[in-house]
Symmetry: C2
Subunit: 148 residues, 2 copies
């Protein structure tokens, strides 16, 4: 991973007031979306430069779908868009945090649930664990076959 | 990315109650740590199988440091460990969410700040933006050269 040059005119990424995302070899940074009202982590996704730019200019969340290999305006087909209240960037600028207001029925997850993190891990003694479904029921039925 | 076989004995990853993380080509999943008390996103990092197993068995956060290429017991040298209150996994099991109680001085970030997300993005009209430092001051002085 290349870092920008550091010097008088090039502050360390941690000290910079310039948005200079450090995209990985695939051209992506990690994006975490939380519910602006409750703080619940809704989803973890990825953004390329175009998705980030569109998010910043439109005020709605755009991601890069790694499974489909295409730009992804979240909710464009399902109606489950995300209004972006705030965008933050981390110390080394390879991750962004979006605080969002879920629109539509309020489901961030393709399964129809409010959050993708609808299962808690109950650790066992061997470094593994069982998953417990402890979230609210899905807000809509996504159909038998999940579409992403 | 390979998915486990789906069928009667192999529910879709979304429906499974079996912890079966989908590590990427580098053997990693994304880990998001939030403050269990406030919901603030503290950091985004990565875990390999060993880091996840140690997190589940010890109740403290372990990650995989991509920059150092080694297993990373967060806070082992700095004292800024994270007590894990809850672990959740997302729909397709390639990301985990840790709710943690920061120990030590309470700094998740290597810059000495509580959260790595200490800068807000102020969008400009061109898809970029400026960064505004709007977090509380650092909890300690990490020294001139940042160590990770």
């Amino acid at each position: 991973m290349t870092r920008p040059a550091v010097g008088a005119d090039h502050p360390k990424p941690e000290d910079s007031n310039e948005l200079a995302p450090r995209f990985d070899a695939a051209g992506l940074i990690t994006a975490v979306a939380t519910d602006a009202a409750t703080g619940t982590v809704l989803m973890v996704a990825h953004m390329n430069a175009e998705a980030l730019a569109r998010t910043l200019t439109t005020g709605e969340a755009w991601y890069w779908s790694r499974s489909r290999g295409e730009l992804w305006h979240k909710g464009a087909t399902s109606g489950e868009t995300q209004r972006v209240v705030e965008v933050r960037v981390d110390c080394d600028q390879d991750a962004v945090w979006l605080k969002v207001e879920p629109q539509g029925k309020g489901a961030a997850c393709h399964t129809g649930r409010r959050s993708c993190f609808y299962r808690r891990v109950e650790p066992d003694d061997n470094g593994g664990g069982r998953l417990v479904f402890d979230d609210a029921p899905a807000l809509f039925d996504p159909g038998e076959v999940y579409k992403r």
